[in-house]
Every structure is written in structure tokens, then in C-alpha cells.
């Protein structure tokens, strides 16, 4: 089965995120006084073949641990959904 996995990687809590701080500053300057915190991360979207969603998630977790995130500084979250045939180019 085809799955679409999204691995979201961002700096761990407690590690200063200067990009996030800069964006927060700009948002506030633009008048978005409601902003409390901004953290910047990245989404890595992976299409893959797996027996079932559980296996897909397990594979993605392995990828995240071994390569996609650096455990010293980064946290990650894995999200899996079934890929609808022909939905995307």
C-alpha cells in the first residue's frame, strides 16, 4: 500500500530558536499582539510503500531517528496517511 508520511522536525523545547524569535518580533511589529511563541521547523514529506499504516509509521520513525532529526537538538513527530491514487502529481 502507498502511504504519505510527514515527519515534522523542530528544535527541542529549551533550545533557543533565533529564527522563531525573529519571526515573532516581526509578527508583533506588524500588530499581531496575540503571538506568544514561534518555533520554526521543517516538514519532510515521504511517499513510501508499506504493508500497513503501522509498518509505515515504524519505518518513518526509524528514518527520523537515524537521519531526519538530530536527537541532540531536535524533536520530531511522524504523521502517516494513506496516499490517494492520482491525487497528486
Amino acid at each position: 500500500m502507498k502511504f504519505k508520511g510527514t515527519v515534522t522536525v523542530w528544535l527541542k523545547e529549551g533550545i533557543f530558536d533565533p529564527q522563531g524569535a525573529a519571526v515573532k518580533g516581526s509578527l508583533e511589529a506588524m500588530g499581531f499582539k496575540e503571538v506568544e511563541k514561534v518555533r520554526i521547523g521543517k516538514n519532510i514529506v515521504i511517499s513510501l510503500d508499506a504493508e500497513n499504516a503501522l509498518e509505515a509509521k515504524d519505518l518513518l520513525e526509524q528514518m527520523a531517528r537515524k537521519l531526519l532529526a538530530n536527537p541532540v537538538t531536535e524533536a520530531y513527530r511522524v504523521h502517516v496517511e494513506e496516499e490517494k491514487a492520482g491525487a497528486e502529481r
Binding site: 533565533p18 537521519l67 531526519l68 538530530n70 541532540v72
Partner: protein, 235 residues
């Protein structure tokens, strides 16, 4: 004695390191393609600066999976010397050969400039020709040189003298203003527990000839040569 300079796709300070070792100092040196697995010819390896794999995903994250890295682990186990400069340091961190990780410079910009460094530990094979506490002038050029490690790790590094180089001002004080990238404890270079793997963000190969404004970096390579000649640290 032979040095190897590892060439990853995207390395760009490989020829600079080679030039200093081979042409300036006059020690045998060879490029080592990242697919090479046999490192038996070499006593010392340089992981050079640059943008291995474009620094895509994270600096050094993809290079650490190059075929040569399996052999680098063995090379380290055998007690041979490995120095990682700039991107090479980032690769050593990603490979787990040194502790910690790199964050983006706190100024959010690439920084190419001269910095002052204090040599904190001269009992290493990479710094044995410096005076303890000596302040040297060396260039940096990086976007991700903001060294980070857990507090326990930092404490351990400090306690065991493994912080080898620190960013300081001209009079040798590790001030916030002298820190170009936000690195924890003003750390510019660290060494592993065994003492044969050295990672540093500044570029000693860029200041090993007087025509380039400073020769302060040359003694890093000379120290390595001396240590290899005397075999002092290969215990």
C-alpha cells in the same frame, strides 16, 4: 607519514588543507574520495570544510553516511588522528565521534571574519606546540557554528579539559562580544575522550602562511606531525 584529506561531494576546503600540509609544511598528503574504504595508508585524516551534500537537511547529516565514514570509525579506534574543520567538525558531531550539535549562528547570518581564540589545552596531539592560554588569530566562515550540548555534557567537557579552543577578545577574555555565533561556553573546538579526534569551527588552514595575514594556524598541523613522530599520544 601520510595525511589524507577526505573529499565529500561538496567539500570545498579540501584543496586548502592539502596545500598547507603538502606544499607549505611538506608532508605527504593525498585526497581520499568519500567512497574509499581502505584508510590503511594514512596516519592522520582531515575532514575539510565546505558544504558536503550542500548542507542539505542539516550540516554534515548526509556526509556521515558516506562509505568512508565506516572506515573513519575504525581509524579512530586504532588511535590515529582525525581533525574536522568547520563542516568536518559538523560531520564529526553528526557521526557521534564528538558530543553535541551545531545550531544556526545566533546572528542568523553566515559569518566570515577573523576571531581571537584562546588555546585551553595544549596537552593534545593537535595543540602541543601552542603555549597554554595563548591567544591566536584565526578566520571563521560558517552559518552553523553555534555549538550546543546538554549541560551535563558541557560540564564534562570543561572538567576533563576537552574544550580545546574558545572564542575570546584580544586580551583573552571569553566575553559575549567575542563570541561570533552564540556557541555555548564560547566553544570553538573540542576533542574526544581518547584525545585523537579534534573538531573546530575556525580554519587553521587559512592562516598558515604570512601572506594570508597570520601563521597562527600552522602549529595545529605541526602539532599533529610532532605527535605522530613521537607517538606520544597513540596509547
Amino acid at each position: 607519514m601520510k595525511f589524507g584529506v577526505v573529499v565529500f561531494p561538496g567539500s570545498n576546503c579540501d584543496s586548502d588543507a592539502y596545500h598547507v600540509i603538502k606544499d607549505v609544511i611538506g608532508v605527504d598528503c593525498e585526497y581520499v574520495w568519500h567512497e574509499t574504504r581502505d584508510l590503511s595508508d594514512f596516519q592522520a585524516l582531515v575532514l575539510p570544510g565546505g558544504f558536503s551534500y550542500g548542507d542539505y537537511l542539516r550540516c554534515g547529516a548526509l556526509a556521515r553516511f558516506s562509505p568512508v565514514m565506516d572506515s573513519v570509525y575504525r581509524f579512530v579506534d586504532e588511535g590515529k588522528l582525525v581533525i574536522g574543520i568547520c563542516n568536518g567538525f559538523q560531520i564529526l558531531l553528526e557521526a557521534g565521534l564528538l558530543p553535541g550539535a551545531m545550531l544556526s549562528n545566533n546572528v542568523l547570518e553566515f559569518r566570515c571574519q577573523w576571531v581571537n581564540l584562546r588555546v585551553e589545552n595544549t596537552k593534545t596531539p593537535f595543540t602541543c606546540l601552542y603555549e597554554p592560554g595563548e591567544v591566536i588569530r584565526v578566520p571563521i566562515a560558517h552559518h552553523e557554528g553555534n555549538y550546543y550540548a546538554e549541560p551535563e555534557v558541557l560540564e564534562e567537557l570543561e572538567r576533563t579539559g576537552r574544550v580545546v579552543l574558545r572564542y575570546v577578545d584580544a586580551s583573552g577574555n571569553p566575553t559575549a562580544e567575542a563570541n561570533p555565533n552564540g556557541a555555548a561556553h564560547n566553544i570553538a573546538g573540542i576533542i574526544n575522550e581518547k584525545g585523537n579526534v579534534f573538531g573546530l569551527m575556525p580554519h587553521p588552514e587559512r592562516c598558515s602562511e604570512s601572506i594570508l595575514g597570520s601563521r597562527d594556524g600552522r602549529r595545529v598541523f605541526l602539532s599533529m606531525i610532532k605527535s605522530l613522530e613521537t607517538g606520544a599520544l597513540l596509547s
